[in-house]
């Protein structure tokens, strides 16, 4: 009996393969279409490859080239029929799943996050940039960039009108010979040097940025630099970097900051410089997941609620969806299509939007539910811990039942009508037919969907975060974790919301742990589903 419903899907490709092998070449239109489509693909690929070559992204270039060649080989050849079907799916799988998973895993073993954002080089550069301070009360110079051969120099006019000239190799010296000045009195040209116009400056931005003119032979006096090519200031670094020793030294206090091994520069007394860099930290993030007091404290409550939330969400949405599917499956019901479309509507709203809308509807004083539906009742839907849990489930039921309705309708319609007839002949009542015949048959095809629905709700961030934000907060804990927080929202808050900013490394590690939990639960459930199948 049940053989008919499930093998349907499985049989078709098997029957298709032998036919494909025996078929002759395509018609003219088919070949032309193929050539045109492949041509378009290759044109796009060639453009992409060219751009990649220009920007010297060789790794991506090589991969793109291989993929393009493979696509051409697969679709031009006559033999690779299975590959023709599999290639698009495989490429999507690699790009959107495998790559993402490997990348998250990689991040989990680093300290990537706010303050550890990039490479050590970038960090050194950033520290040097922000440590370069203008010397207090030093004059502001009007500057002109001039060129002598290939060397750039600064021709500056101080507020008193004194003109000086200097370059990287020659400290600033007053100019005695006459210079050409503009209306503001700024020296704009000097004999023997060529003045760079604004357009020239734009073409040599990097050179101008590196142009550093010592004020005198003594570097302690500071250096002149210009950021815009028209104004120069005297700068002195607060910290100097010694590339060989790999240390920063504070020029006024003499404190030395050295690589702490944790992606920061740290002084002997534990002071860290603001900007750090990304390093590999091994299992540290995983260790933190199990030892961090932020996480450990309310963890048990959150884990229990996560399982309860996921389980109850599946149960309630499935119950309502199934009930409605059966109710709307009656052959003699009129206007069924309209009802079905209306039923599915909540499914069409984005979950985060619904969360926000519902949080407005559930406002105790001004919300539609209390005000209009319950005649001005004062029910604290979202602010009482138990009511908030109830509200979250209720909203998730509203969001989730259309999906269950859809899949149940589909499964119900594929049940052969003669089973029901036979049962009725044997004298079974409606309830008995449902529990003993229909439900077990439905579960065979629906159980995998219920498991995936459980996995989805286990990580249903949108509903929780948009509706209650995880609140109301637990009393007696110092952390921003509340009664409706599930694991994923807690992870989000711990990794992104507290302390000193976002911590992608910790977030990835926690996500991997959650993945393992969900994977274990799902595997066990799938095993049991197979048992269910065999019993039938």
């Amino acid at each position: 009996m049940r053989g008919e419903s499930t093998p349907n899907g499985a049989v078709r490709p098997a029957a298709g393969a032998p036919r494909g092998a025996s078929r002759g070449p395509d018609g003219l239109i088919g070949i032309l279409t193929k050539i045109v489509l492949l041509g378009l693909v290759d044109a796009a690929a060639a453009y992409g490859l060219f751009q990649l070559a220009v920007s010297e992204e060789w790794a991506v270039f090589a991969i793109s080239l291989l993929v393009t060649l493979a696509i051409n080989w697969i679709y031009l050849g006559k033999k690779n029929l299975p590959a023709k079907y599999l290639a698009p799916g495989l490429i999507f799988l690699l790009v959107f799943q495998v790559f993402v998973m490997f990348y998250s895993t990689y991040i989990a073993f680093t300290n990537y996050g706010d303050g550890h954002n990039s490479t050590k080089e970038d960090a050194v550069h950033a520290i040097q940039l922000s440590a370069l301070e203008r010397v207090p009360d030093s004059p502001q110079y009007a500057a002109t960039v001039v060129e002598d051969g290939d060397e750039l120099l600064l021709l500056v006019t101080d507020p008193t009108g004194q003109v000086s000239l200097g370059g990287p190799e020659q400290p600033l010296e007053p100019v005695e010979e006459p210079v050409e000045r503009d209306a503001t009195g700024k020296a704009v040209a000097i004999e023997g040097y060529e003045t760079l116009q604004f357009a020239d400056l734009l073409n040599r931005q990097a050179d101008v940025a590196e142009l550093v003119v010592p004020l005198s032979d003594d570097l302690e006096d500071g250096t002149l630099r210009t950021q815009d090519g028209s104004t120069a200031y005297v700068f002195k670094p607060r910290l100097t970097y010694d590339a060989e020793a790999d240390t920063f030294t504070n020029t006024s206090t003499g404190v030395v900051y050295s690589d702490s091994g944790e992606g920061t520069f740290r002084s002997a007394d534990g002071q860290e410089l603001g900007v750090g860099w990304k390093i590999h930290v091994g299992l540290e993030n995983f260790e933190r997941a199990f030892t961090d007091a932020d996480l450990r404290g309310p963890l048990l409550q959150v884990v229990l609620w996560t399982f309860a939330f996921a389980f109850l969400s599946v149960l309630t949405t499935f119950a309502l969806g199934l009930f409605l599917a059966i109710a709307f499956n009656r052959a003699d019901l009129r206007g069924k299509r309209i009802y079905r479309v209306l039923m599915i509507l909540p499914y069409a709203f984005p979950a985060f939007l619904s969360g926000l809308v519902w949080s407005g509807l559930l406002n105790p004083q001004f919300g539609f539910i209390n005000n209009a539906l319950l005649g001005g009742a004062d029910i604290a839907w979202l602010t009482d811990p138990w009511m908030a849990k109830f509200s979250v489930l209720l909203v998730n039921l509203w969001l989730g039942y259309p999906y269950m309705f859809l899949v149940c309708t589909g499964a119900l319609q594929s049940l052969p009508p003669d089973v029901e007839e036979a049962a009725r002949m044997d004298g079974a009542g409606a309830w008995r037919i449902f529990t003993a015949i229909k439900l077990p048959l439905l579960l065979v095809s629906l159980a995998p969907l219920l498991i995936s629905s459980f996995a989805f709700n286990f990580n249903n961030f949108n509903v929780i975060y948009m509706l209650t934000g995880g609140g109301p907060r637990f009393g007696g804990t110092t952390f921003d974790i509340g009664a409706t927080d599930i694991l994923i929202t807690m992870v989000y808050k711990v990794a992104f919301g507290t302390g000193t900013g976002r911590d992608y490394g910790l977030a990835s590690a926690l996500a991997i742990i959650i993945f393992i939990v969900v994977a274990v639960v799902s595997t066990i459930s799938f095993r049991r589903t197979k048992a269910l199948e065999e019993i039938n």
Binding site: L40, Y75, D114, D122, Q205, V275, N363, G499
Partner: protein, 428 residues
Amino acid sequence: MKVHTRTISRRSAALGALGVSAVLALSACGGSTEPAETTAASGSAAAGDTTLTMWTDAERAPALEGIAAQFEEEKGIAVDLVVKDFAAVRDDFITQAPTGKGPDVLVGPHDWLGTLVQNGVVAPVQLGDKAGEFSEASVQAMTYEGQTYGVPYSVENIALIRNTALVGEAHEDFADVVAAGQAAVDAGDAEFPFLVGLDPKQADPYHMYPLQTSFGAPVFERGEDGSYDVSKLAMNNDGGKDFAQLLADHGDQGTGVFNSNITGDIAKEKFAAGASPYFLTGPWNIPVIEEAGIDFAVDPLPKAGPEAAQPFIGVNGFFVSAHSKNQLAANEFVVNYLSTEAAQDALFDQGGRPPALNASFEKAASDPVVAAFGEIGADGVPMPAAPEMQAVWADWGATELSLIKGNAADPAAAWEEMSQNIEAKFEG
């Protein structure tokens, strides 16, 4: 029939393949266009090839379009304005700047600075003599750990908006304000004595802050330059506890003046409907109130304690990426062009945010509403920008919420506990 199905499936497979390679090719192009452009810019002779990329959000974009076009006309440098989601601007910038694919210039509020500096993605700018032409608070806001990182263009703060049809004159003390509001409610003219938008999950320490400072309980101690020193929490004093008591007295168990069910949107809607004589809010809600035809006045912030009520100041500004390959052009645009009176005037005309440049502000202040907000803001201090603020806001808001809801039996103890939690996080 069978043959028909098969041809279709072959075709759809081919289409699928096309889709895949198109996506691949497109993603490859998307990633590589920018470097290609920069190479072209530095390689050729004409200045017209230099393009600055600027990120902004939908709210700030309209004010910038005109100014960007004008800059291109005058200096020959094109400004490519990329409009992104507000929250994404900062976070995407932090992740993308180090890869070299971020923008050259960024527009945003000053309280991003802490995080931007922590990640080393913004470069300091030198305002030089121009610093004196801006309002002091705006330059202070753009300064983080002693360095100036941005050019401010607008300064905003909250004030008390009064419906002049319901309450005739301004009151200085919060008690008088509540009494006047209550009188209007008792007379049947209004529904609420006082409105302030609160978040039902987090309350709103930002809007409540002037009341808190009037008790002499600023969030942090102020450093030498007048800005907040994030390492020294100052609100854990007797004034803070008095403020906690005030929240409880006017909360759910008290007069109900502070009502956490009233969100910012509900408060705006009710005030625009004439349902309350008072609304504690910022200039961003003024257009709605004007449209609703409410006659209003901008009153000084009411004080509940013995000291002056100081608001937080929010400053918008332009930042230059530390990873920009167009440092010179970006500085020319941000420091030399956007700081001019003409540019700041234009930004105000198109965006409506009170200018940070003194000369432009004076012109804008011919509008009495702008002038009144500006006068109130003169007492204010920029919101702290340190990355640690995220944790402070969370604890601060949650405690204020529980005080307003009457969940804390002893307000002073709840305030004390909050301060200790925040201090513990700073140490940890």
